[in-house]
């Protein structure tokens, strides 16, 4: 396959003497060489950075003031070559074409000069003013290799500067070099056609090797560092499995026990239960007076640090009387005004109130779980473990018509399925994008869902919980396997670079988590509010009963659940975890209406639902409306089908 390069060599403008005004700067370079860090350093703007090749799919724009002039700086996705074979390269080529006047600043990993030079030569063939930045000079020195910077600059005919972006060293020299950016004068292999094919790539590589021989002295063999050893273990069959189990337990502890347990308890019972909700109730009682008295309830709280599912260290216990959302009218209401006030009061702080239900759910339950998950995901991502995990599970994923690359969206899907659906862009073929999206929509519970599910498993036996997890994994494989057989097309080769293992930087980690959280909350909180409002209106119009009656054959006869759960499934169409919360309410507490058998059926059905309406929009954006409609119909039909089968099967087994 040879791909069209779409790049006309751009002649430098008449009169450009290398000191012309610099207006736009493009940061181009191989993946994972520190473009985004440099971008942040130059512009002071933060971008999400990670140690996984192909994370920047979008272009980031920023401005910096250089020599008193405003310069636009564009950060592009990392590319290994300029042939638009991948989505990243396509984006980069488009940016290059859209900014014919821009100065190209190529960022290179100083240790990996050979690969950088391949790109340098391809960029040189475009006849653009360029600057070459050798980043990660500290790692070059540590490994003992040497680059003759001046020689390199002479051979290429462009300014070459050295930096250590993570420490902010050498940033000034980049801005200084911008004004002397020059069109490379080195000899460049010329394409016979306007395509970059294998033969041309070979020519570039041959020339890169020649330049390398003049300017680069390789490091003497040295003992592997701890990071390298860890990286090797992570991909060995046995060591990798142990590390994977370790990572899974860490995730379970940090997200499942600490996040969904300790943090949720604190936020839900103390922050919202004792302070925010009662304050909101009092505040609205004050401004919306109608004759009523709120009931009091006793809130019990235990601050404990979990060790494993059964044991925890209790640090603090307290009880307090608080106001609850339930109230009784003191005198019969007369006139329209109190009725209106009561309506608004109920809308905000009633049983289906926006503040007491939607916001407390969004901030008290979802927020801590998602925060802990994204923090941990950031650590896994920045450490360079995920590509190694991809190498580990490649064979398993092959069976589902995917390859190891799909591991990133799948793991991210455990945090947020919508975000993960967007990340499927890193997969090269449509077949892989389709299957990954389908599996994300069907069988990968997001962290909010996981949190609720974890709480629900407390109501079923250990065996049933194991059965539930096995079923979910089994369904994912079965559906993936079938989809791979039914969907035409090839799965791409699995070829993935393994970046060096690194210790994540705290600042970057926090920033990344905050960025993702902001994204998540913006997407999620409105949905909670809308969902609650819908339920509230239906409740007020007494439509809930009618809809429940309508769904009765499905819910009661097929799934074998009480009719009251219909509203949970109704809201599950909007967000499945929110629907699951209603099921959780129905399955726990003193007035539980679900038997353990019914809890299992409800869990399976709601877990297989479409994650949320935002995911649906994202699927439609990524794969088109038709595919989105197909996936939606399939997911809901499949969810109810499997739910019913579990109901029958469990009855038959006598569970």
């Amino acid at each position: 396959m040879s791909t069209d390069l779409n790049l006309n060599p751009i002649r430098p403008r008449e009169g450009r003497d290398g000191h012309a005004a610099v207006r736009t700067v493009l940061l181009v370079g191989n993946p994972n060489v520190g473009k985004s860090v440099l971008f942040s350093r130059i512009t002071g703007k933060f971008v999400v950075i990670s140690n996984y090749p192909g994370t920047t799919v979008d272009i980031t724009k920023g401005t910096a003031s250089i020599d008193g002039e405003n310069v636009t700086i564009l950060d592009t996705p990392g590319v290994n070559e300029l042939a638009p074979r991948t989505e990243d390269a396509r984006v980069t080529c488009d940016v290059m074409r859209d900014h014919p006047d821009a100065v190209v600043v190529q960022v290179a990993d100083a240790r990996n000069l050979r690969r950088a030079l391949l790109l340098t030569l391809q960029l040189a063939s475009l006849r653009r003013p360029m600057v070459l930045v050798l980043n990660m000079m500290d790692e070059l020195e540590n490994c003992g290799a040497q680059v003759e910077v001046e020689k390199l600059s002479t051979v290429l005919g462009i300014p070459v500067v050295t930096t250590i972006a993570t420490q902010g060293r050498g940033i000034d020299s980049i801005t200084a070099a911008l004004s002397s950016a020059a069109v490379p004068h080195c000899r460049v292999p010329v394409a016979a056609t306007r395509e970059i094919d294998y033969e041309l790539t070979m020519e570039y590589i041959t020339q890169a090797s020649e330049i390398l021989a003049q300017t680069y002295r390789a490091a003497p063999p040295r003992r592997p560092t701890f990071g390298q050893r860890l990286g090797w273990w992570a991909t060995q069959p046995l060591g990798g499995l142990l590390l994977l189990l370790g990572a899974l337990y860490l995730t379970y502890w940090f997200v499942g026990l600490f996040g969904a347990g300790t943090c949720v308890d604190f936020l839900e019972n103390v922050v919202f239960g004792r302070y925010l909700s009662p304050w909101a109730i009092r505040f609205f009682d004050l401004i919306l007076p109608f004759p009523h008295v709120h009931a009091l309830e006793t809130s019990q709280y235990t601050l404990s640090i979990p060790i494993d599912p059964a044991h925890s260290v209790t640090l603090l216990e307290s009880t307090k009387q608080t106001l609850s959302t339930g109230y009784t009218l003191t005198t019969p209401m007369a006139g329209a005004l109190p009725q209106v006030m009561r309506f608004i009061h109920d809308f905000l702080v009633g049983e289906y109130g926006v503040i007491t239900t939607a916001l407390s759910y969004g901030f008290a339950i979802v927020f801590p779980i998602v925060t802990t998950f994204f923090l941990l995901f950031g650590v896994l991502e920045d450490s360079g473990y995920l590509p190694r995990l991809a190498a580990m599970v490649n064979r398993v994923f092959r069976g589902m018509g995917l390859n190891g690359r799909a591991v990133l969206p799948m793991v991210l899907g455990l945090g947020c399925d919508t975000m993960a659906t967007m990340t499927t862009r890193i997969l090269p073929t449509r077949k892989e994008r389709f299957i990954t999206t389908l599996l994300l929509a069907l069988a990968v519970p997001c962290s909010a869902q996981l949190g609720v599910l974890l709480a629900m498993t407390a109501r079923i036996s250990f065996g049933a919980a194991v059965l539930f997890s096995c079923m979910l994994v089994g369904i994912a494989f079965l559906v993936g396997w079938l989809a791979a057989r039914l969907h035409g097309g090839e799965t791409s080769d699995f070829i993935l670079e393994l970046p060096p293992m690194r210790v994540p930087q705290i600042g970057n980690l926090v920033l990344k988590t905050v960025t993702r959280l902001e994204w998540y909350l913006k997407e999620v909180i409105p949905l909670f509010v809308i969902g609650t409002a819908v339920l509230f209106v239906l409740d007020k119009l007494q439509m809930l009963g009618k809809i429940a009656a309508l769904m009765e054959p499905l819910v009661k006869n097929w799934l074998g659940l009480p009719v009251e759960t219909a509203s949970a499934f109704l809201i599950g169409f909007l967000r499945r975890d929110y629907g699951a919360v209603y099921l959780l309410d129905a399955s726990t507490g003193p007035d539980a209406i679900l038997t353990p058998h019914q809890v299992l059926v409800a869990m399976v059905t709601i877990t297989l639902f479409m994650p949320c309406i935002a995911t649906l929009f994202m699927i439609s954006r990524e794969l088109g409306r038709k595919t989105a409609a197909f996936i939606t119909v399939f997911v809901f039909v499949f969810a109810f089908l499997v739910g019913g089968l579990v109901n029958r099967g469990a009855l038959w087994l006598g569970m």
């Binding site: 590589i205 990286g231 490649n394 699995f494 993935l496 393994l498």
Partner: protein, 151 residues
Amino acid sequence: MTNRKPDYYHCSLCGFEFNSAGTHCHTGCILAKHCKLVKCPSCGYEFPEPTRAPQWLAKLTGRGRAAAAHYATARELMPLDEALEGASYELVSLNGSHASRKSALAVYGLVPGCRLSLTQKRPSFIVRVGETELAFEGNVARDIYVKPVAA
């Protein structure tokens, strides 16, 4: 050791060097195993199976066993999936059937002539080329032909 087949062939059309295993056609042909043609996996050119003349000539001229040993070890070509974990190799050729795969490997520096060390083979192949560590799967490894070099 008169009629033993040589361990590797050299395609007289494209110059591709390849292992003798699995290069004969087996099904459908009436000549079956009596067929003396081998097919180059790179360009598809079919040519008569070369005999091992060079080796016994070498023996006659007195270069003897050392030359034979050199012939068998230093010059032996193999696909990467038959290579040993932990050893260093020189990449000789990328099989020609997948141009996009060849380019995909080339941008990481996996080009004929480069030195690579095979870190592991399972569950995925991991090789080190210069400062780049690359993971790929078995069917990619089968198309990479290497010869051993001293570490």
